[in-house]
Amino acid sequence: MRKLVFPFLLMCISINAQNPSAKEIIEKVDKNMSADSRVFTSKMIIHNPRNTRTVESKSWSIGEKKSYTEYLSPAREQGTKMLKLEDQLWIFSPSTDRIIQISGHMLRQSVMGSDLSYEDMMEDPHLLNHYSGKVDGEEKIAERNCWVISLTANTPEVAYQVQKVWVDKDRFIPLKKELYAKSGLLLKKLELSDVLQIQGRWFPKKMLFKDVLKEGDGTEFDIQDIEFNVKIPDYIFSKASLKK
C-alpha cells in the first residue's frame, strides 16, 4: 500500500506544478502588463463604418490612480490633454482654453470615437487587485498554447465584471480577451499581438479592441514605444499641466 501512496502523491504534486493556479497565472500576467509607472506613445487607428482615422498620443501613468495623456495628431485633436486622478477625469481643449471635468459613467464613453473607453485608455489595473479567477481549460490562439481563465470582479466599481482571458502559457501574456457586463452581456473583444520583450518583460505592441455594441471594424491600438518604471515628475499629474 505504501508503495502505491508515494507515487500517487508525487504524481499529484507534479500535475500541480504543470498546471499553475489562476492566481499564479494572473500574477505573472500582471508582472508583464502592469508597472509602477509607464510612458508610451501610441497610434490609435479607428475603423468606423464610414472612415478610418488615426489618432496619436503620448501617455504617462503611475500605477492605477494617475494618468495623463496628450494628443499629438490629427490637427483637430492636437493639444487636447486628459488627466485622470482616481475616478475623475479632466479634459483640456486648446480651442476653447477650457478644462472640463467628467466622472462616473462618462468615463465609460468612447475616446475619440474609438472602441476604447477613457478607462480602457488611461487605466493600468492590476488584475489581481480586482478579480479572482479560475482556469477553465486550454486552447490554442495564433498557434500558441493558452490557458483560458475566467475572471470575476471582486468590486462593483470595475467596468467589466467578468473577463475571459486567453493567456499565453509560455510568455504569460493575454492574447485574447472577452469583456462582459455583470448581466453576462459581451461588451468588448480584445486581440493582442506583436508580443515583444521590452525591459525584461513580454508586452503586446498591438491590441485590437472591438466594442461589440458599436458598428465598425474595431480600433487598433499600436504602442509605438513604451518605457516601464520611469520616474515621472509629479507636476505632470496636476491640473496646471493641462494648460501648459
Binding site: 480651442s95 477650457r98 470615437g113
Partner: protein, 424 residues
Amino acid sequence: MIRFLLKGILRDKQRSLLPVVIVIIGVFLTVALFCWLNGVLNDSIELNARFNAGHVKIMTAAYAKNVDQLPNDLALTGVDTLLIRLKKEFPEMTWAERIHFGGLIDAPDNKGETRAQGPAMGFGIDLLSGDRSETERFNLEKSLRRGRLPLHHGEILMSDDFSRKLKVNPGDTVTLIGSTMNGSMTMYNYTVCGTIVFGTGPMDQGSVIADLEDIRNALDMNNAAGEIVGYLADNYYDEKKIGQFVTRFAGLYPASKDEYAPVVVTLRQQNSLGQMIDQIKGLGGFAVFIFVLSMSLVLWNAGLLGGLRRYPEFGLRLAIGEDYSHIYSSMLYESVLIGIIGSIIGTSIGLLASLYMQHHGLDLSSMMKNATILMPTVFHTRITPTAFYIGFIPGLFSTVIGTALSGIGIYKRKTAQLFKELEA
C-alpha cells in the same frame, strides 16, 4: 311666388325674425367651430413642421432608423451636391439643411472652471447666409426676449429659461460639449448673443440655436447635415402634393441597401404625427358632426315651432279656400328662403370672425406653461373651402326638414271644423 314669400319674410318681422336669428346663430357657431378645429390641427402640424419634421425630411436610411437618438455619425454627407439636385428636381419646394444635436452647455466662472452646466437640445440652422427662411420658420425675431439674433460666427441663442437656469446673460461665453460626427468628444466656445422664448414647453426648457456652419465646425461635420427639411411653397401641408413628391423622389433615389443613401420621410411618418393628425381629424370631425347634429335638432325644432305657431294662420287660409298642397309648398319655400338667408348671414359672420382669428390668433400660453409636448400656445382658426358650405347643413336642410314635418299637420285639418276652431 318666391318674390311674394321673400317680401313676406322681409316685411313681417314677427313671422321671420326669430327663425332667421336662430339659423344665423346656429350656422355661425357651426362655421366658427369648424374653422377653429381646422386651425388647431393646422397649427399643431405647422409647428411640428417648422421646428422639426418639415413637410418632408431627407435623411440617410441609418439616421432615419435611429432618429430619436440624433445620430449625427449617420448624417448625410456631400450635402451641397444633394441640395443642388433637390432644388433642380423639386423647384416647387424650399429646402433647408439642419443639424439637430444634443450636448451639454457649460458656463464657466471667471477662472474658466465649470460654474453651471445643463443638458441642451440644439439646432444648427442657416442664420448667417442672408436667406431669412429659417429665421422666419423658427419665428426667431418674435421669440427674442433679450439681446439680439446672431450676426457673426461664434454666436448662439439660448432659450430664456435655460439661460436663467445657468445664470447666463447675452455677451457671456458658454462652451458646448458634444460629440463629433466621428464620436469624439468636442468642446466649442460660443458667445450668447440673445435669449428666446418659443412658447412651447420642451423647446423652452433647454434649447440652443446657432448658425449651421458653426455647428458643423463644432461637430466636425464638414459638408454634412443630419437632415434636409423640405416645405411646400405655400407652407401648407398638403398630403396629396407630398404623396406626389414621394413618388418622384423614389424615382430619383430608388430604394438601396446602402444605409447612408438618402431616404425621404414625410411629416405623417414622423413622431407619430400621422396618428396624431388622424386622431385630431377624427375627433374634430366627430365634434363637428355632433355639433351639426345638435344644431340641426335645434333648427328642426325651430321649424316645428314656427309651423305650430302659425297653426291659426293656416286654418284661416284653408278656410278662405287655399289648397292644402299650396300652403304646404309655400311653407317649404319660405323655410328654404329663411334657411338660405340665415345660412348666408351666419356663414358670413362665422367666416369674418374666423378670418380675424386666423390673423390674430388666441394666446393660451398662460394655460400651457407646463406642457411637455410640442404644441402651439397661440391658436389660430383656418378657413378652408368646406367652411363656406358646412353651415348650410344645419342652416338650410334642418330648417326645411323641420318645417316639412310640422307642415304635414296641415293635411289633417278638417275644413268643416275650421270656423269652429277660429271662433274658439
